[in-house]
Amino acid sequence: MKKLFLMFSIALFSAGCAGGGNSDSNGSTEQSAADETKTPGTEAYDPKRGEGKFTEVKISDKLDAEMAARGEKVADLKCISCHKLTDEKLVGPGWAGVTKRHTPEWIMNFMTNTDAMIDKDPKVQAMLEICMVRMPNQNLSDGDTRDILEFLRKNDGVK
């Protein structure tokens, strides 16, 4: 029975995300094109760092397990309604691999300066076209944000 459900889900998602995978990669090429033809005013936007208060986030090669545990707790309350830990999309994209796709600064800025980045970041805008729901700002403290980043790293296999 579970299989049926899984199949059904996959069918649903491939339908729901029709061209989702494609548009993701297309999105990045379009993005670089967009970068070159930037309109004045958005010139200052750094797609690597995103926009927000985090300019340099120090991370170690090793995981801070305590921090990750705290991050998981906050995520359970404020994030998990919409994000799965796998690469499967729920309301928002699955979290697997996110720390490989984005810099720590980008992730933390997006979590705390959500609306501004939805309006400016080409990757976020491409994702919005797939998910159709603007990620809410969940009013995370700086500490919570860093803890969640650590949990995302753990989810991506950092030990």
């Binding site: 029975m1 049926l4 459900f5 359970d76 309350l77 404020k78 998990i80 309604s81 809410p136």
Partner: protein, 664 residues
Amino acid sequence: MKRNLYILCSCAALLMLMNLSGCKPKNAGDATGGDAAGRVYVAPGKYDELYNFVSGGFSGQVSVYGIPSGRLLRVIPVFSVDPEKGWGFSEETKPMLNTSHGEIPWGDQHHLALSQTNGEIDGRWLFANENNTPRIARIDLKTFRTTEIIEIPNSAGNHSSPFITENTEYVVAGTRFSVPMDNEDGDVPIDSYKKNFKGTLSFVSVAPKEGEMKVAFQMVLPGMNFDLSHSGKGPSSGWFFFSCYNSEQAHTLLEVNASKRDKDYILAVNWKKAAEYVKQGKGKKVKANYAHNTFSEVTHSATSKMETETTLIDVKDFPDLVYMIPCPKSPHGCDVDPSGEYIVGSGKLAALIPVFSFSKIQNAIANKTYDGDYGGIPVLKYEAALYGEVKKPGLGPLHTEFDGKGNAYTTFFISSEIVKWNIKDLKVLDRQPTYYSPGHLSIPGGDTKKPYGKYLIAYNKITKDRFLPTGPELSQSAQLFDISGDKMKLLLDYPTIGEPHYAQMVPAELIAKNSQKIFRLDENKHPYVTMGEKNSKVVREGNKVHVYMTAMRSHFSPDNIEGVKVGDEVYFHVTNLEQDWDVPHGFGVKGNKNAELLIMPGETTTLKWVPEKAGIFPIYCTDFCSALHQEMQGYVRVSVKGSKVPISFSLGKNSEAAEEMLKK
């Protein structure tokens, strides 16, 4: 012939029309300045200059307008249920409407007072009275929500309320209807009014930090009707002034019988001294029964407690607390100027405005310049208390406020106008018609030590032809005037909710900067909170089913529930997991004899549902929350009594029961 008749009729109709418009008062368009439109235009996306809190009268609620645009920003539910917001319908808010008579769905809200520090508006709370079943509410201006309601014992018709002292030490409640005291046998002949009916002036203390209210003491006076009041300030600190009518002590046909005497009274009450007497234990503690309801922003829930005692001060036993000042004729407004020296009485059946002097009142008391007594209370000689009279100001003065530049503005109900006059020389400076019959008026800070001035709003009791007709029932109207110049200029007419009585106005920044955006999830101590979707569940306790549900754009968890039976009491405890501004979720259940929930970010709110028949019942989000709002829905399966369907719940997968069936 037919044609001639037609022409004749048309001519007659035309004449009648011309006649009609001829009868109408001169168009207010003449009175508005040429720049009126520009003065009230607030560009899209821009904020108004002032908040205007307006009593909702028989709607029982309080409305909030932006000034100068006159845009309605919000209706705050206070004394009446509001299904739109779940007020009085959610389990958490029901206790707010509890009284000694049980839960009451409606109230009559007349007057408002913004909290003050040193006689100036401090932007913390808004107090609102309830006239019918005497109560006072406190609204928290961080959340624009009613946070406390206290019932007033030994009172009926809480009209002379909720006026406050300079530092919000007390909010007062004077009875409009005198009645026998609660602890006495009230089953008495109505015509024993003079013997058995008493009026009370209650002083409700307000805790300096948290604002919690307490009926501190109640002054007992002879039976009469108290109308309005205002606190002294500056030199008159420590005193409160109340207007009264029906000093004739009539109990029937008051229209005639309470309008016989040339003068009624304004009472000067030394509340500081009364508070001292109470502190010394001189008050009489009596049994009472009244509700005290408080709403906690931590548990997101209200509790109602019945208080059992009150302290009475019988004024006839304390001759130095209250003095009566004769005032023509059935006074309504009782207003103290910003300096605290002048007290303006507005005799609603009078053709003059008396202005009393606080220093002269003090001299008259010191020298015992009395004119007899009223039920044992000394009556001061009119001339001994009087500063002077504004002669021929208009007909039917009701209420006065001040601009802080030495001018007073009084509404005239009978002659439908606002009159500006100078406090010192008592000369009339300007008059402008209103449309029609104003009751109260409001100037920003106009009853405080420091009026902001600039605008004046008249609240009219009669609208008639001012707006497009809407059948027999019309909205009442507010009229905004510019008072920055020598002459008042009419700027704008706009409709109001309910019947506006008193109002308060304040520069926006004082309130806006404190406005709360969300409730923090980590501070949510609701006993049925669901901290995160993983904790959502359904629990059966006998015939009670508790649904621990979360809401997040754009789904509920769980959204499929089975195992509910006919006759169960189902409680949906919905926690909104959003932590962003302006993302409430709504919640409705098909066939529920109840309202909806409107759950703010971080809040938990509970909707009760007792299903009466078996079947499938959809649930859904009622507040458009996202592009996938229409997908924010679920189903509850209701089975017959005695059914074996177990409680199950799920999100994003089939229920266990469904899995079982599919296996077969």
